[in-house]
């Protein structure tokens, strides 16, 4: 199975690990991530104003490219997933935005939200299946107690993202079980890390990250996993190294016995 892949700006730079582990693991699990040619940065946050059009066009271009290839669009970064999924919903359901975006785009055939947008975790759950993943694990992470850190962008708004139950998600815990480790459920797993606030208001983000980490550690986690480079940055910057944070793709590659292969590259 081939998917159109939107890596995003950060996975080409500071979060290059998140990308490499995802690609290598995909291959082992029998699906291929075909990078969209000439993709442009999604902008990091979804433009909330109903009159915002130009700021959504990068997502529309990527979505239309996937449509032309007849493929579903896959992202690994939580932010790219959030932005592209919400823009796709606009293109499908909001007449004004669809009309105006298509006026800009001048495509041969107007884009109207036809592409299916999937996060990598959704591919694992809904296309590969966690049971299948489990069968392919060669180095189970037995004995590891892992807290899933969801953050905001994958889950909310729940109806639109349709990723999982926004208040009581299970997808990352199921993933943790599939790679042989033990999930630790803690109350702050879907609370915000501060996001972009850490640029100008470091202390605010610090407070939030401390609460998240104290909550996870208090419930017995010895590490956290995330899909978001900004969550990773904020958590790492603020925890004094007490609780290590990993990209979920790194642990996936490790369980599939591929981590060394990637690390040598």
């Amino acid at each position: 199975m081939k998917y159109s892949y939107f890596p995003g700006c950060t996975l080409k730079n500071k979060a290059v690990d998140l990308d490499h582990y995802a690609r290598v693991s995909a291959e082992a699990l029998g699906f291929e991530l075909e990078e969209i040619s000439e993709w442009q940065c999604c902008g990091g946050v979804y433009p909330l104003g109903t009159d915002e059009i130009a700021t959504k066009l990068a997502s529309v271009r990527a979505l239309n490219d996937a449509k032309e290839h007849g493929q579903d669009l896959v992202t690994v970064c939580s932010a790219c997933h959030h932005v592209i999924k919400r823009v796709n919903d606009d293109m499908k359901n909001v007449d004004d935005i669809r009309t105006r975006a298509n006026n800009y785009m001048k495509l041969d055939e107007p884009y109207a939200g036809e592409t299916t947008v999937l996060h990598y975790l959704e591919v694992l759950r809904d296309r590969v299946g966690f049971d299948e993943l489990k069968k392919k694990v060669v180095k189970p992470l037995t004995g590891k107690k892992i807290g899933a850190y969801y953050g905001c962008l994958l889950l909310r708004p729940g109806k639109l993202m349709a990723f999982d139950d926004p208040e009581n998600p299970t997808i990352m815990e199921d993933f943790i079980r599939a790679i042989g480790a033990e999930p630790v459920i803690y109350p702050y797993r879907n609370e915000c890390c501060g996001g972009y606030i850490s640029l100008k208001e470091e202390d605010m983000s610090k407070n939030m990250c401390r609460k998240i980490e104290e909550s996870a550690a208090g419930f017995g986690a010895d590490m956290l996993i995330t899909a978001c480079p900004l969550c990773m940055y904020n958590l790492n910057k603020n925890n004094g190294g007490n609780l290590p944070v990993y990209y979920f793709t790194e642990l996936l590659a490790e369980a599939l016995g591929l981590k060394e292969e990637v690390d040598e590259q």
Binding site: G8, C9, T10, N13, K14, A15, C41, G43, G44, V45, Y46, P47, L48, G49, T50, D51, T55, C77, A79, C152, L155, R156, P157, G158, P166, E167, E191, C192, G194, G195, Y196, I197, S198, L199, K200, E201, M204, M208, C228, P229, L230, M232, Y233, N236, K237
Partner: protein
């Protein structure tokens, strides 16, 4: 200078929110991780738009404390989306010439070797035009 009424209408139009749906349950403020930092709280924000006191909103530091985490949007039982109202107020500030909250020249001071690109593009999009 735009009137308070026209600025209130602008906020409603940009956000697509009908503040009259609010039943003042306060769940948005109870959910907000930035609550302690905000001078005008999310549930109050809705009332300021209804009362057309936009001058207080555009001067409020709350505009720059909202994280767009969508906890208020998720948990609002009336689908008012306070976070979208706050963003619309932020938009009427930064869309005015010279009112950007973050300047490109500020950035070198604010970053470190690990700063992800995602942080910069997100902040630039929220804080400036």
């Amino acid at each position: 200078m735009k009137t308070e009424h026209s600025r209130a209408e602008m906020i409603k139009e940009i956000s697509g929110v009908n503040p009259l749906k609010c039943m003042k349950c306060g769940k948005c403020s109870a959910s907000c991780p930035s609550y302690n930092e905000m001078d005008i709280k999310p549930h109050q924000f809705v009332s300021y738009v209804i009362n057309e006191d936009i001058e207080s909103l555009v001067k409020s530091k709350s505009l720059w404390k909202c994280l767009s985490c969508f906890a208020c949007v998720e948990r609002c039982p009336r689908d008012v989306k306070p976070g979208k109202l706050i963003d619309a107020a932020r938009q009427i500030v930064v869309r005015e010439r010279g009112k950007n909250y973050l300047l490109a020249d500020d950035i070198p001071e604010l970053i470190d070797p690990d700063t992800p690109q995602q942080l910069l593009v997100s902040a630039l999009r929220r804080y400036r035009r």
